[in-house]
Amino acid sequence: MKVFQVALGILAAIGGFVDIGDLVFNVAAGATFGYQLLWVVVIGVVGIIVYSEMCGRVAAVSGKAVFDAVRERLGFKVGLAALISAQVVNLLTLTAEIGGAAICLQLLSGLPYRWLIVLAGVALLVVVWVTTFEWIERIFGYCGLCLLVFAVAAVRLDPAWGAVGKGFVPSMNTESPLLYAFFVVGLLGAAMTPYEVYFYSSGAVEERWGPKDLGLNKANAMIGYGLGGFLSFSLMIVGGALFLGQGIEPEHIGTIALGAEVPLGQIGLLLALVGMLFAVSGAAIDTLFAGAYNLAQFLGWEWGRYRHPSGAPRFTVTWAVLLALAVALVLTGVDPVQLTEYAVISSAVALPLTYIPILLVANDRSYMREYVNGRLANILGLIYLVVIGIVSIAAVPLLILTNVGQN
């Protein structure tokens, strides 16, 4: 029974890994550089595994979530800067996910986009208010698994497997190294999106994980994110096999779904759209809660997924306000795909402020006791800190120099 439960959790995690950032950046990277950038996904996935495991362990042993650690280690002032940057990135991401959900609904139903934005917002509000989180995870995770259609599509498209294999070895064969670098930053930002660790660590505290759950933590992080990375590979391979050299840029969500329709027909298209709808809606819920977790943890308010939302009043009001703000932003007519690019790049900028405090807390023996970081976690943690440091500094210049990946 326990194995069964873990398996269910992992299935949900795979479905929940992919969000609009992964969809947009992986397919676009494939369309622009073929399979050349597959190695970046590996680096990104290992990075999110390293830091998620650390966050989960800190949460299980000390009961502290990410923004408890941020406030404690960075202090009020610097911590506030980290909070503001995290919240801005979160809101951009949330807006992009809701816009993405509305586009999927539009492609599925043919109804007007503006109505569907409002419908998506109201549906999210109702789902979160009346459904338990257990069910939210199941429904969105399992339906998100429809995205596996992209793995089937990748095989059906029969890509040059030798070239796919070569993509896992870093190399750069291009006349536009800046654009290449832009995609490296974007893919890392998409794989290591900070809201995932905010949500994961807060969830671990909510489920009252203790030291006995550390094995589960490791399995969740490694298998869940690892297999999620597998979906990212599929998306990039589809992008490369179908769009490379065709002059097609997946600048619309529908183009991404085309990746499943061309090799698999109508049923492929339907599965892709349903999978994308649930993946981005599930990500919207995670992002929404991540924003509320962060603020409540920073200010010391009660937080959590109570049976009734009045169990954590200010937390509830925070996510309701964030949802309303995001829906209003989508209604301004901003393009979700373009917004995704900005959201992912700005999350790359904010990464170090999230990960430095976690690394510090995971090394604090006073309450981590024998569960402090081992040598491997510290070596990997430090290497990734250097990587995200470089990514963070390079992100904005690359955004400007490549005109948001357009040249």
Binding site: E72, F76, L80, W129, G300, H308, P313
Partner: protein, 116 residues
Amino acid sequence: MSGSFDLGLALLDRQLLDSEGRRCGKVDDVALEGGPGDALEIAAILSGPPVLRRRAPLAGRLATLFSRDGRVRVPWGEVAEFGAHVKLRKPASEYGLGRGDDRLKKFIEKIPGKDR
């Protein structure tokens, strides 16, 4: 509470939990007592937006605009235990902590949900 520890690292900015395990603020500042030449002793924990104004004037002022919560002083003797969190001996309301949540609760409770 004996022995030595780094106040800034081990106490400041920690989560406050009341006797029922409810999250009810952060250790926003610490009040120390002791005359010239004496050893300093921790007298109380301070919490609330007005306390933050001393640490970050601009952000603290913003916080006091948005929140009606005042400065709360919890005598050090009320601390039951402190480790990863700071646990207090009585429910939050007895110290005047967590008022913002209490005020909003009345409104949110009226909206039907999964369970009440």
